[in-house]
Structures are given as structure tokens and as C-alpha cells.
């Protein structure tokens, strides 16, 4: 058992080192997030009441799109330099190695994204309950985005047609968006949001158990 934990953390450490050495790939999606957020005030006029209502929705949808863009980085470089072949032929189950990579992607991408999202929430003067609801839903939602995203990335690495990934992914992201937005809206009016959080947590647990297995199977198919 200790052996499996050891390989898990070796792969995790390797991916974190790679992410921090190649800063550009880390920063780009976050820049995209901020720029898209800025677009909306330009569209609706900065002081309109409409914008106040929509802010949390804009933040969540933009976080979704930014994640879509960043998913490619999980497997593309490993696919090109043959590391995936070495992983799938190693003595350790591919599921374990893949979950280490997904966790690394979540840590290197989603945690900074949550920080920036909260920061934009404060700047755009959201109420404190909304911001706390935004934080919790992002905390529960973004791992699911990485997990389900990893399956489709594993299926579509190296295929021509860049939009294919988003076409496959967004329908699967809709429940996360729906439950998170409901939680935020309930929080804004002071109602309890436990029901939605239970759903998000349930989907998260389902994704944690099933997604790595599906990703490993998808990678094996993609290699064959």
C-alpha cells in the first residue's frame, strides 16, 4: 500500500514541478478568466442593476469556460513525449497515475482560479453570503470539472478539431452549473443552500470514484 502512495506523490510532485516551471501554461487560462469577466460590464454598462444580479452567474460561466481551455494541458504534453505509454505499461494501475495527474491539474489551475474568482466577486461588490456561497460551490464544483474533463481530454487528445472537446464537455457540466447557481441565488436571498451543496457533493463523490477509471480506459483506447 505504501508503494502505491509513494508513486501517487511522485507523479503529483512531478506534475506540480512541471506546472510551476512552465508558468505561461499556468497563467493563460487565468488571464482569459479575468478578460472575459471584464467584457460583461462593457456589454451591459457598468452601473446597471442588471449587472449586479448577473455577476455571480458571469463568474461561474467564465470559470467553466476557462477550465475547458485548460483541460488540454493535463495529457497533451505527456501524450506527445510518450510518458503516457510508459504510464500505461508500468506495474501500477493507470487509474492511480491518472488520478494523480487530475489532482495536479486541479491544484495548479482551479485553486488560483477560485482565488481570482473570489477577488473579482469582492471587486464587483457581491454581498458576503453570495461570496461565501460562490466559494463553497467553486470548491465543490471545480474538481468535478477537472475529473469529467479528464475523461473527454483522454478521448480527444491529438484529434483535429479544437472545438470537439468543448462540444463533448459542456453538456456534462450543466448540472454543476445549475446546482451552483441555485445555491448562490438562494444564498443571496438568505435561504439555506444545504440541498444544492448535498447534490454538488454527491456528484463530486461519483466523479471521484468513476472518472479516473473511465479516463484510464479512454487513454488505453487512445493509445491503441
Amino acid at each position: 500500500m505504501r508503494e502505491y502512495l509513494n508513486i501517487f506523490f511522485v507523479i503529483l510532485r512531478r506534475d506540480l514541478i512541471l506546472a510551476f516551471r512552465n508558468k505561461a501554461e499556468l497563467i493563460n487560462p487565468l488571464m482569459f478568466f479575468v478578460i472575459v469577466i471584464v467584457l460583461f460590464p462593457l456589454a451591459f454598462g457598468s452601473d446597471s442593476a442588471l449587472l449586479k444580479q448577473l455577476t455571480s452567474g458571469i463568474i461561474w460561466v467564465t470559470a467553466l469556460l476557462a477550465t475547458c481551455l485548460s483541460l488540454e494541458t493535463i495529457f497533451r504534453s505527456d501524450f506527445e513525449d510518450g510518458s503516457i505509454e510508459q504510464f500505461s505499461l508500468s506495474r501500477y494501475p493507470l487509474t492511480l497515475l491518472v488520478s494523480a495527474k487530475i489532482l495536479a491539474h486541479w491544484m495548479t489551475f482551479s485553486i488560483p482560479l477560485i482565488v481570482i474568482a473570489l477577488f473579482t466577486g469582492i471587486v464587483l461588490s457581491l454581498s458576503s453570503q453570495t461570496i461565501s456561497a460562490l466559494f463553497i460551490t467553486l470548491l465543490l464544483g471545480t474538481p468535478v470539472l477537472s475529473l469529467i474533463g479528464a475523461i473527454t481530454v483522454a478521448l480527444t487528445i491529438g484529434l483535429r478539431g479544437g472545438m470537439l472537446l468543448s462540444l463533448l464537455i459542456l453538456p456534462l457540466y450543466m448540472p454543476i452549473l445549475i446546482f451552483s447557481m441555485l445555491a448562490i441565488q438562494n444564498a443571496a436571498v438568505g435561504q439555506s443552500i444545504t440541498a444544492e451543496l448535498y447534490f454538488l457533493a454527491g456528484i463530486l463523490v461519483l466523479a471521484i470514484t468513476l472518472a479516473p477509471i473511465a479516463t484510464a480506459a479512454a487513454l488505453r483506447i487512445r493509445l491503441s
Partner: protein
Amino acid sequence: MKLPRWIHQFGSPKYFYELSLWLSRWVAIVCVICFVCGLYGGLVLAPADYQQGDSFRIMYIHVPSAWMSLFIYMVMAVAGGIGLIWRIKLAEIVARSSAPIGASFTFLALVTGAIWGKPMWGTWWVWDARLTSELILLFLYLGYIALQSAFEDRRVAARAGAILALVGIVNIPIIHYSVEWWSTLHQGPTITKMDKPSIHLSMLIPLLFMVLAFKTFFISTLLIRARSEILEYECNASWVKQLLGSNNVTK
């Protein structure tokens, strides 16, 4: 796990290729009969609904195609799973060929649902829970077909599609429930008359005929599509060469 011998034998494409033409013809005849009875019963015999008048007759297209869209996605996921685990070529072919039919049924359910909603709500599109999950189901189908066409190697495409279909099947109940939850919270519990109105026997029988007609339609067109897939899959096999090599055009 090893399957008994006869499943592989039955699953052999050559055997299926000959069988499918004969089978699809018979199933097509049953389909036409069901269509005639269903349409006649639904459009002529069934009395007008007391609330919706005659517009409820759209139900005879909308409800069966909605059921079929979900049913075909399940067929795709199960066939894909079988093809993935036991590597049976036929299962992959069935999964691959049923996707376009499923997509057209989902599109049909959407269009007829929108048209049915128009007289009741006055707008073409209404964010009703069922229509929204049909729309998302259509996206899943289009995603599946797009993924299939993105691969050159047919076998890899089929197995990748199987994974996507299995992921989709797990997500469909989640999507459906989240859309239900979302639509009831936003619009309040609208009494959507999309449900089958209080089913009177003379209305129910045509509906069953229409459902049967749609199922037999699916099976017979699936068999035709499967035949051309088999030829492409097996173009190296000797039986295809004999069949086509000596340029006697079948059918």
C-alpha cells in the same frame, strides 16, 4: 470473461450481413402496418381533448420520439459497453449505426414539443424541464457523432464512442434531475400539459401503435445502416471480396 461460442458465431459479421437484409424487410412491413393503425387511430378515431382540442394529436409523434431518443441512447451505451468488454465487432457496429437515428428522433421530439407548446404558451421555445433535457440529450448525441467522425481508425472510434456513451448514460439521470429541479424552482410548478392527457382508451391504443411503429422503424433502419458499416469493417475479409469481387451487385 469468455463468452459462449455461439455468441461469437452469431456475432460473426458475415452471418449477420445475410440475415439483416431479410430481417429488415420483414420488420419494415410490421412498421408500416403499425404506422397506419397508429395514425388512423390517433388522427381520426381519437376524440379531441377537452382542454387542448385537436392540438394534443401532436402527442402521437412527440411522446414516442422522446421515448425512443432515450431508448436508443441506452442501446448505444449497452452495445458500446459489450463491444468494449468482449470486443464483439457487431456490438460496435450497432452502437455506431444507432447514433444518427437517435439524434434524429431527439430532434423530432424537440421540434414537435416546441410546436405543441406554441398554442398553449404562445412562444416557440419554453424552458420546460422535459424540453431542456431533450435539448441536452441532443448535444450528447451530436458530441458522440462528432467524436466518431474525428477518428480515422474505425475500431478505435467505436471504442472511444463507447466510453463517451457510458459516461453519458451515467450523466443523463443527473442532468434530467438537475433540469427538473432548476425548472420547478424558476417557473414554479407549471402544469405542463406535455404529459399524456387523461388517457382515454381510444387515445391510448394509437399511442401504443405509434410507439411500436417507431421501435420497428428504428430496428429496420439500424439493420440497413449496419450492413454498410459491416462492409466497411470487413473490407479485407475474404467473404466480402467474393461477394463483391465477382461484380454481381447484390440488392
